[in-house]
């Protein structure tokens, strides 16, 4: 039986998978100074196609969900930030229980050989 994940903090970060999650955790650990953060995905929902399911599940934590002040979704843009944004935004919109963004904001590409 998998460990039960308790959502305890005010910030939750949703990643595409455990590899991304570990990467982000390491960045936060090195950077320091951030408040405690909970991470998803849990055991069964992962991938950029499953953010909607993660959001549905997160709301199912009820009282824990009511204490959350922010959910940060981190997805690989695959060098297509606009379409990635729309794809993720449409998942958020389909859940219907969350506010979502109309427009995206991304860092301008500085060099042609390095993606934004």
């Amino acid at each position: 039986m998998a460990d039960v994940i308790e959502i305890e903090n005010e910030i939750t970060i949703l990643c595409e998978g455990l590899a991304d999650q570990n990467f982000i955790k390491k960045i936060i650990e090195v950077r320091g100074g951030l408040p405690p953060i909970d991470f998803l995905p849990p055991s069964i929902y992962y991938g950029r196609d499953r953010f909607d399911q993660m959001l549905i599940a997160l709301k199912g934590t009820g009282v824990s969900f009511s204490r959350i002040k922010g959910v940060l979704i981190i997805a690989d843009s695959h060098d297509e930030p606009a379409s990635t944004f729309r794809y993720i935004r449409d998942q958020i919109r389909s859940v219907r229980d969350y506010p979502f963004l109309r427009n995206y904001c991304c860092q301008r590409r500085q060099r042609l050989d390095i993606p934004a």
Partner: protein, 400 residues
């Protein structure tokens, strides 16, 4: 990796949840499910308001469904929630005295003044055990069967002293009684004021209820004779087979289930292949007896509700998935709404696939407490099923 900045952008939609009624596809999908016995629209409690009942100060619940699973830490009010719903759904103050027994109170000879004895029986129903905190429970039903209950110290009721030849108990002096006042959807009021007498508590006769809600307490013994009588009633109408099939689906080795007379009382007996004679079901297996009790209560409470405290107790975890299916199947067939409390993560996990399959038929009620006040969060089946399937904790802990 790209970054999406999530600050300062307009909100397009706010969180909304619209409650839905029970799904229609269950009978076609679940094994063992049969054609529904219902002829009219499904009856159930859709919303509840509780004021000043035990640790609940002010609570509202909307979006209830056919199977409502109650979770929460110890001592936050799961059982109190079941009690509130049961006493509002039923129509007899005697139920309040059962709560004491179910919670483990024994019944020593009452001593003290009449008021002390009376308060000892009923004051715990009042929030903070304060006479001024008048309990009020309102349930809104789906079939014009809404009703409410108010419990209050009735200063307008005179104290009646028993008029008999036996020496009067010195404690039976003046006291202020409590009145239970039920009001139905048409505004008709049913009142009952229990009174102390030398022999005990006298409860005035009340009109019989047409729909009989039922309660399976966590600590009380299973009602052996009652189960046998209910089974016999179904058997007389040729409807015992679905109980036997359900029991055999869980315990495939059961050869028969019959009502026999044991020490002058009706008792359910089970025939097992490795024993020549039949044996009482309570001797065969506690889990078997528990399952039969649950199924009979659901069937008996046709058109109203069954309340089950600590549903998982006594049932092996391997039988949990089928228990979930049987709950839903029987609730559907008998038009019974279920409220079941559990502590068990295994039990919740076993139900996740069914909850995700029929999200409109399930609701998770998270009972929690802050600063000694109980409250409830209603989680739709869609969210609850996904959370449990994702191993996200839904059994909220007590917060001081």
């Amino acid at each position: 990796m790209g970054k999406v900045v999530a600050k300062g952008y307009p909100v397009d939609e706010q969180s909304t949840h619209k409650s839905t009624r029970g799904g229609a596809g269950i009978r076609r999908i679940l094994p063992g499910a049969q054609e529904s016995m219902r002829t009219s629209e499904y009856r159930m409690i859709e919303s509840v308001e509780i004021q000043n009942f035990r640790a609940f100060k002010q609570t509202e619940m909307r979006g209830l469904s056919r199977v409502n699973v109650i979770v929460g830490d110890n001592g936050v009010g799961k059982t109190a929630l079941l009690e509130a719903l049961f006493i509002a759904t039923a129509s007899n103050p005697e139920i309040a005295t059962r709560f004491r027994q179910w919670r483990g109170a024994d019944n020593p000879a009452a001593t003290g003044t009449a008021q002390e004895i009376y308060d000892g029986l009923f004051l715990d129903l009042f929030h903070n055990m304060s006479r001024d905190s008048i309990p009020f429970i309102s349930v809104t039903g789906s079939a014009n069967d809404s009703r409410s209950l108010r419990i209050f110290y009735d200063v307008g009721e005179p104290t009646v002293l028993p008029f008999d030849t036996t020496p009067r108990h010195p404690a039976l002096s003046g006291y202020t009684p409590i009145t239970f006042e039920w009001k139905d959807a048409e505004g008709a009021i049913t009142k009952s004021t229990p009174r102390l007498q030398a022999g005990g508590l006298a409860i005035p006769p009340l009109p019989p209820v047409t729909l009989d809600a039922s309660f399976i307490a966590a600590r009380a013994p299973f009602p052996t004779s009652q189960n046998a009588r209910w089974f016999s009633e179904f058997s007389k109408r040729g409807r015992e087979k679905k109980f036997i099939s359900a029991m055999q689906a869980q315990f495939e080795y059961i050869e028969s289930l019959t009502v026999e007379v044991d020490m002058g009382n009706p008792v359910l007996f089970v025939k097992l292949p490795w024993i020549e004679s039949k044996m009482p079901i309570y001797l065969a297996s506690d889990g078997m007896n528990k399952l039969m009790t649950i199924l009979l209560h659901i069937a008996h409470s046709q058109g109203t509700s069954t309340f089950i405290d600590e549903i998982e107790n006594g049932v092996h975890h391997s039988r949990h998935p089928r228990l979930w299916e049987q709950l839903l199947t029987f609730a559907d067939e008998y038009d019974t709404q279920i409220f079941a409390a559990t502590h068990s993560w295994e039990y919740l996990q076993a139900g996740a696939p069914l909850i995700e399959k029929f999200p409109d038929d399930f609701t998770l009620l998270q009972v929690y407490q802050e600063d000694g006040i109980s409250d409830v969060t209603v989680i739709p089946g869609k969210n609850a099923g996904a959370a449990i399937a994702s191993d996200l904790e839904v059994r909220v802990k007590r917060k001081r």
